[in-house]
Structure formats: C-alpha cells, structure tokens
C-alpha cells in the first residue's frame, strides 16, 4: 500500500503550502433516500486554481460538486453527512440558509440555461437579486467581457438570451454566474452540450477566469482535465456492497494524476480501460 493512502483505502492529501483552501469538503456519506450515492470524499478546493473532477458515469462527481453549494437540497431525499467549510463556516450548519450559500458560490450547468429574457437582464439577474447598489450597466459589461461574449452581443443586449447559439448561451450563463463576483464558481460539465470549437473557447475562458475566481469543474472528458485543471480528483464507483456508491480514489496535481497515478484504478481509467 502506498504511503499516502490510509487503511480504508482513502487518500490523504499532501499539504499544499502554496494555495489557500477556499472550500474544504469533507464528505462522509451522501444519501438519496436509502441509496448511498457517495462516500468518503475529502476534496479541498484551492484558491485561484481549477480543480477537475473526473471519473466514470455514476461515480458521484456531480453529486460532490453540487453538495458544495447545497444545490442537492433541491433533490427530495437528499442527505449529507460530513461538512463543507467555506469561509470558516460549515455550509451544512443548522443555521445556514442554502440560499445564502448559493449567492456566494456560483454555478454553471451542463445544459446552457439562460432565462427567457434579454441578454442584459440575464446577466443583471444576480445583481438585482442582491439589490446591487452600484452601476448595473457597468457590471453587466464587465461580466460579459470576462466571459468573452461582449464583442458578440454588445449591439444586441436587448435581444433574448435564447436567440444566441449554444456556445454563446453557455458563455452568457458564465457571465451571469460571475456578475456578482462569487468567490467560487462550480461548473458541472459545462461543455458537454457544445461543439469542439465552443468547448475550446470555454476552456480558454476557464483558464483566464481562475486568476480571479476559484473553479471546481466536473468533466467527463479526461483531455479537458489535462488542458485546464491544476488539481484533478478521480472518483470511481464501488459496487462491492451491492449498490453503486461513488468515492474519491485519488486527488493530486493534474500532471501527477495523469503521468504517475498512485492507484491501480486510476491507472486503468487513465489508460482508457474503462469509462
């Protein structure tokens, strides 16, 4: 057994002195009803980095991501055991309102999901929700520029968000998420509905955005993780107990995970022996 793995087969993460941990997720168990969906996944998300979540279907990578801003609370029967520390507080603390958590941790979804309103109103939505006192127009412009969409839409801000192409819609959703300048942005397979060119743009965008925002990224695409992620977390499915329970297998620098994986399972997955 490798030195960085403890007796339960769980991974101990080596302390990284360079970057501060923004979200410290210590997930023990996640249930949907009686179904144990994910177990034992300790994922620290570090400031100014992109942390990629990879793994086969059903390994719980999306569930872990959505646990970070309590999006899973919308799912009936969802139960979380463990804690997620954000700014020194457990987001699952009994006094914490999930709505507040989501205002500080932004999210971009698998399918582009702009609202049926104008491009401007889409981006301004979060600002208005927070009763933003500053210059809304300026903030919208700033967010659209950061999302690399400004030049394409600056002459038609009143046009419906739904009139844009898929890739543009996803960048609009990114602009909407970053307009309120959240500390962390969670991205749940943001490119899975996009063509390769649009995917490339979003990937470039993610790398630019990490200067200012900390990003956690779920991706089904290993190449994407190697291209953008600083840290990579590999999840897999444990079928030994009869169910299909996801868990964290290995977490490390992206290069280490892909070039020198410590776990047999990671090795097999990286080599493409299962997916």
């Amino acid at each position: 057994m490798k030195a960085n793995v403890n007796e339960q087969g769980n991974v101990k993460v080596k302390p990284d002195t360079q970057a501060k941990v923004v979200i410290d997720c210590k997930l023990d168990k996640v249930y949907y009803g009686d179904f144990l969906a994910v177990r034992d996944s300790h994922v620290p998300i570090k400031k100014g980095q992109i942390t990629g979540f990879i793994g086969p279907s059903g390994c719980g990578k999306s569930t872990v991501l959505r646990s970070l801003n309590r999006m899973n609370d919308l799912v009936q029967g969802f139960r979380f055991e463990g804690n997620v520390h954000f700014h020194g507080q457990d987001v699952y603390g009994s006094t914490v309102d999930p709505v507040v958590v989501r205002r500080y941790i932004g999210m971009v979804f698998q399918q582009p999901n702009p609202f049926a309103m104008s491009i401007f109103d889409n981006v301004a939505f979060g600002l208005r929700l927070n009763r933003f006192k500053g210059d809304v127009e300026e903030s919208v412009e700033k967010a659209l520029k950061k999302a690399a969409l400004w030049d394409e839409v600056k002459d038609k801000l009143k046009a419906s968000g739904l009139s844009l192409s898929g890739g543009q819609q996803q960048r609009l959703c990114i602009a909407r998420a970053i307009a309120t300048e959240p500390t962390v942005v969670l991205m749940d397979e943001p490119c899975s509905a996009l063509d390769p060119i649009a995917t490339r743009r979003i990937e470039e965008l993610m790398v630019e955005l990490k200067e200012k925002f900390t990003i956690a990224l779920v991706t089904h695409n290993m190449q994407q993780a190697t291209r953008v992620a600083d840290k990579t977390a590999f999840f897999s499915v444990d079928i030994s107990a009869g169910g299909r329970t996801g868990y964290l297998v290995e977490l490390g620098d992206t290069r280490q995970i892909f070039e020198d994986p410590q776990q047999q399972l990671t090795k097999e997955y990286i080599r493409g022996e299962f997916s």
């Binding site: 709505v99 989501r102 979804f109 999901n113 979060g126």
Partner: protein, 323 residues
C-alpha cells in the same frame, strides 16, 4: 416504380413500403384533412346562418343598434350598448378575480408547496368546479353570494359612494355577484391551463434561478412565471372567452336591466342573458334583431380569441428571435 434495381441482389431485408402502406398513409392524411375542414366549415356555417338571419335587422337598425341604449319591444326600439358593456364589464371583472386566484392556485399546485398526493386531491376538487351545472351556480349566487356581500356592499356605498364603482346600492342581483360567480366558473379553466404552462417550464431553468441564490418566491416571480407567461396568457384568454359566452348563471344574477353603469352593485345585462331571456317570446320581427345581437356576441368572442392568439405568437416569436 423500381428503385436501385440494378444494385439489388434480391436477398435484402430492406425493401420499399408496400402498396397498402402507401394507402394507409394517404387515407390517414385524407381523414385528417376532412376533419380539419369540417371544423372550419361548421364555424363558417354558424357565422353565415346567424349573419343571414340577421340581415333584415342589420338593414333596419344599421350600426345604431350597437350604440342604442333602449330595448323596448312595444315601441320597436332596439339598442344593445348596455348589453355589450355588461358583457365586457362582467367578463373583465371575472377575469381579474378568477385570473388572480386561478394563477395563484396553479402556482400553489405545481411548485412543490404540497405533497404530491395532497396536490392531486386539490387539483381534482378544482377540476370538479367545472362539472357543476351553470344553473346551480346561479342558485348559489342568488341564495348565498348576494346575501353574503350585501352588508359589505351597503357599507362601501355608504362610506365610499363618491367612487363610481360603489355609487349605487345593491338591490339584489347585480354586476358584482354575477362577476364573482362567473370568476368561480372560469377558475378551473384558468387553473388547469396555467398548471400545464407552469409544468412545462424546464427544470434546468428553475435550477439556474436557485443556483444564483434566488429564494423560492424570487424564483417563482422572476423566472418561472415569466417563462410560463405565454401559456398563462393563453389560459386567461380561454377563461375570458368562457366568461363572455356564459349564459344561465348570468341571466339569473346580473339583473337583466338595461343600465350602463360603472357601479359594481348596479344591475346590468349581458348579450348572452339577453338572448336567452328574449328568444322564448320572440316573434318573427324580433328574431332577426336577436340574431344581430348574437352575431355581435360571436364577433366579440372571435375577436378576443384572435387578438389573444396574435399576442401569444408575437411574444413567442420575439422570445426566439433577436428583437
């Protein structure tokens, strides 16, 4: 006709559709066409029949019929402005009341406020409202609604009589009781169609709203309702159309008096009630006049539906296009 013949070996599994396949295709298309044209034909026939029978009255009274305020069979003076006003006024009041409660109910029943099973019970009860006969609503209005609102109406008239809406006393039947009952009658339609519209809002749109940190009410009011607005508007148009044509309950509750008043408590009349009450005793001279009134009611209903459809398709086109 043989296709690809040269390339075929005769052992393929694939082959062209058979003659009977084509026949089925064509006959299905034919039946669908016949049904569609039949409906258009029925509407056309209806318009023509009513219009044709109304011609003598149209020749005699011209457009003055629409602006006249007297209906006197003995003097042979006919005007339906109070009825047109009463039809639109009672329907708008009913739409305002029934629309508010119908849409609220649709939100309540679709946005996870209730456990699924309880929501089903509520939905069934609301749907049941649609099965109650009009005449029962009429009796209920006379014996329950009128006595119930009379003290309130009297008080409003005494304290706020200077406001046009409260300027008369409630003598019994009148606009307000008629509109209240009408509101309940159109409520199931509005609630059911609005529920469909709200249920069609994709989950990912809701997710987007919650992901930005919207509370439940913020998500409903700022995202879900606007997304479903075209369907909800359709529900309101449908409800308004029902209210325009509703007859029995109104004939029992509206007061059947040729008055042109803004007051909620004053009796009035509607086109449908006028027709229902006058047909049984109409002589040969009055039939064309009533047909003229029926034509007006039909045209109002058609116009409302067409304007509603136009607004809906315009707004949905705007939603997709860049404008």
């Amino acid at each position: 006709m043989k296709v690809f013949e040269e390339a075929l070996t005769g052992e393929e599994i694939s082959g062209p559709p058979s003659k009977s396949d084509y026949l089925m295709d064509r006959s299905f298309r034919g039946i669908a066409m016949v049904c569609a044209w039949f409906i258009i034909g029925v509407v056309g026939l209806l318009l023509w029949e009513i219009g044709y029978k109304a011609i003598p009255a149209i020749r005699e009274y011209h457009l003055g019929f629409l602006t006249g305020t007297t209906w006197d069979v003995n003097k042979q003076v006919f005007g339906i402005l109070p009825e047109i006003w009463g039809t639109l006024y009672s329907s708008f009041l009913a739409l305002a009341i029934g629309g508010f409660f119908g849409v609220s109910m649709a939100i309540f029943l679709t946005q996870d406020f209730l456990p699924a099973r309880l929501a089903l019970v509520f939905r069934t009860i609301v749907d049941l409202l649609a099965a109650i006969p009009s005449v029962v609503y009429g009796f209920w209005g006379i014996f329950i609604v009128v006595p119930f609102i009379r003290p309130v109406a009297d008080w409003l008239n005494a304290e706020f009589g200077w406001i046009p809406f409260f300027s008369t006393t409630l003598s019994g039947p009148g606009m307000l009781p008629a509109s209240l009952v009408l509101a309940i009658m159109i409520l199931p339609t509005i609630a059911a169609v609005s529920q469909d519209a709200l249920r069609q809002v994709p989950y990912r749109i809701k997710e987007a709203a919650f992901g930005l940190g919207a509370t439940r009410w913020e998500a409903i009011l700022k995202v879900i309702l606007p997304t479903a607005s075209a369907g909800i508007f359709g529900a309101l148009v449908l409800g308004f159309g029902r209210a325009l044509g509703e007859t029995m309950a109104l004939a029992m509750l509206v007061g059947n008096s040729n008055q042109l008043s803004l007051s909620l408590f004053s009796p009035g009349n509607t086109l449908a009630a006028l027709l229902a009450l006058n047909f049984p005793e109409a002589g040969e001279r009055e039939i064309p006049i009533l047909m003229y009134a029926a034509l007006v009611l039909l045209l109002i209903t058609l116009a409302v539906n067409m304007i509603g459809t136009a607004i809906m398709s315009l707004s949905s086109r705007q939603m997709r296009s860049g404008k």
